[in-house]
Amino acid sequence: MVRLDKGKAWSILKSAIDKTGFLPRCSAQKVSTCMQQQDSAQLKARHWLLDSPKEREFQPWNVGGCVKILEAVNVHLSFGGVAALRDISFSVPEDSITTVIGPNGAGKTSLFNCISGFYRPQQGSIFFRGQDISRLKPPARAALGLARTFQNIALFRGMTVLDNIKLGAHVHTKTGLLGALAYLGPARREEMALREEVERRIIDFLEIDHIRRQPVASLPYGLQKRVELARALAMRPQLLMLDEPVAGMNREEKEDMARFILDIKEEWGVTVLMVEHDMSMVMDISDHVVVLNFGQVIASGLPQEVQKNPAVIEAYLGDGDIATLRRRLNANTEAA
């Protein structure tokens, strides 16, 4: 991937546009206005009623957390005596790609599970657009716009790709039992509208139309991951959580997936929060990085800053002093 100094390019562009006054939302004044826009219904509508996603307002992505779409405050999670998350506080800026990184066992998936509602933290709260969702059950969180993919693919093997994706839209459809039994009438209309939406917006976008009638169990790994992404998109998310979206993929698949994630952020206006181990991808597409180790946040900020943070380097590589390492190795071999 090409390395651009995106920050510099954006600031030049931004000042140019500001000067022309063409897109007033770029100005600082508009930033504070958007922070006041806590009306979630308005915000939701903004993304989905517009026919062409590009019509949505242009928002520079590194305004330092204009709107915090998700905020975790002092979250503490333990299983029996083992603390998986210790006093975690961080926030996800809206319209960004935020990545959570950290060594294995740092608590990344546990964090996702807390946000999804599968685990209930012993202490702390989680706020979604300013609303405390800590007591909400997972289906209610899904209705607010929290979508997610899973580390080990959690597709429903008894259904086709199309059915899996349509399932994602469950919270947003409303066919009841009697309507379903009769089918002809409102249920059929809703089904057809759903089918059209899924085909147009998601299947074409993710280029999976050639497999849409296949049972998911027969698909190769990379396509299964893409179908899972499609299903998460069908949930009409405000915040999309991806748990290791490119794990186990080859280089080409990773590039495709990265392209999709960037498009999701820019064309769909969805905030992306992901857990990822592939450092080059993290550095290339993330706007904001949070580093976890042993259940604690040890660093957060721009990718470049985090990369240079000594605490982060130590978490991954251990004590970076080669001389110390050599001495320790020699001591061990002498003792043995």
């Binding site: 997972p138 289906p139 899973f150 429903f156 008894g158 399932l167 469950h170 009769a182």
Partner: protein, 347 residues
């Protein structure tokens, strides 16, 4: 061979019968079902009615166990609730049979929901055993609550009636049972074209992920229990009208196992499987009966062995299908269809 089968609209793609050939065949099937009683012997008519009842109940169980993955050993109990409701209504009121059947279904559905309440906390085989416990409780109620259920002697009914028309023989019962079976099958199939059916399948495959995707688990599990028990209740009601007597022994535990075997043999997780399984399992005992009658001249002891032999055959069928064809008769049917779709090609 099927070629040139491109669809021009989403509605056409999502239809149940997607090609003209299929529609024609289905029309012929409906026609033959309609004309069947006029040409059939009384014995075949009797069998057809039994098959109709079995199909409805098996479909109900399939919805719960095959599609939603909640194993139930209580089907006989729910059928019993339906049967007793219909019997009681026929003795104490003069409601026309559609209302009585509806009442039977609704009461069974309500009880089904109560039985399904533990499904939030317990899963899999523990839930199956809970349904077994429920079945035992229901059986106890049927026996002990003699003032309503007639105790061990049970209840006997008048024939079903509708606007003065009495359904007193198999011919008329056929026209009550068969259209109801077709409608309920269609309704069940429709469920799985909508979000509700998808939610059921999701609960079966991965219920935790389903919940995170927005499906409220308890509500849908209870819905599945309610729907499945409704079907069982209606089937039990038809059973009552057909035999005109219900006793606690009409709905034994072995009936629950019979229906479980029917959906396994037919194919869990497919509506067609429920139908095929019900037909197959209802006809097997009859086939065995015929075989025994045929052998009796040569081997006079044969009838003694018929009942235990039925048990052995039943068990062998279950074990055989599970080992060799776990997706049941529906899968066999799909293979045959695929062969004809692809012919003269092989794959």
């Amino acid at each position: 061979m099927r070629i040139g089968d491109a669809k021009q609209s989403y509605a056409a793609d999502e239809a149940l019968w997607t090609s003209t050939t299929q529609q024609v065949w289905f029309g012929l099937l409906l026609l033959s079902l309609l004309l069947f009683p006029f040409f059939a012997s009384p014995y075949l008519l009797y069998l057809a009615c039994l098959v109709g009842i079995a199909v409805i109940s098996a479909t109900g169980l399939n919805i719960l166990t095959g599609f939603t993955g909640l194993i139930s050993l209580g089907q006989a109990g729910f059928m019993g609730v339906g049967g007793y409701t219909v019997a009681w209504l026929s003795l104490h009121t003069s409601l026309p049979f559609p209302i009585a059947l509806l009442a039977a279904g609704l009461l069974s559905a309500a009880i089904g929901m109560v039985v399904g309440l533990p499904s939030l906390r317990i899963k899999g085989l523990y839930l199956a055993i809970a349904t077994l416990a429920a079945s035992v409780f229901l059986h106890f109620v049927f026996v002990e609550w003699a003032s309503v259920t007639g105790g061990m002697a049970g209840l006997s009914l008048r024939s079903a009636q509708l606007f003065g028309l009495t359904f007193h023989n198999d011919f008329r019962m056929y026209f009550m049972i068969m259209p109801l079976a077709v409608l309920m099958l269609l309704a069940a199939r429709n469920i799985f074209r909508t979000r509700i059916g998808r939610a059921f399948i999701a609960i079966r495959d991965r219920d935790i992920s389903a919940e995170i995707l927005g499906i409220p688990l308890l509500r849908y599990k209870l819905l599945s229990f309610a729907l499945s028990s409704f079907y069982a209740g209606v089937a039990g009601g038809l059973f009552a009208y057909f035999y005109r007597v219900v006793t606690p022994e009409s709905f034994p535990l072995s009936m629950s196992i019979f229906y479980l075997a029917a959906i396994i043999v037919g194919g869990m997780g497919s509506i067609l499987g429920g139908v095929l399984g019900a037909i197959f399992m209802t006809l097997v005992p009859e086939g065995l009966k015929l075989l025994t009658t045929a052998i009796t001249p040569i081997y006079p002891q044969a009838p003694v062995f018929m009942s235990p032999l039925l048990g052995v055959v039943f068990g062998v069928l279950i074990v055989g299908f599970l080992i060799f064809e776990p997706n049941g008769l529906a899968e066999v049917w799909r293979r045959i269809r695929r062969f004809f779709h692809l012919w003269p090609f092989r794959t």
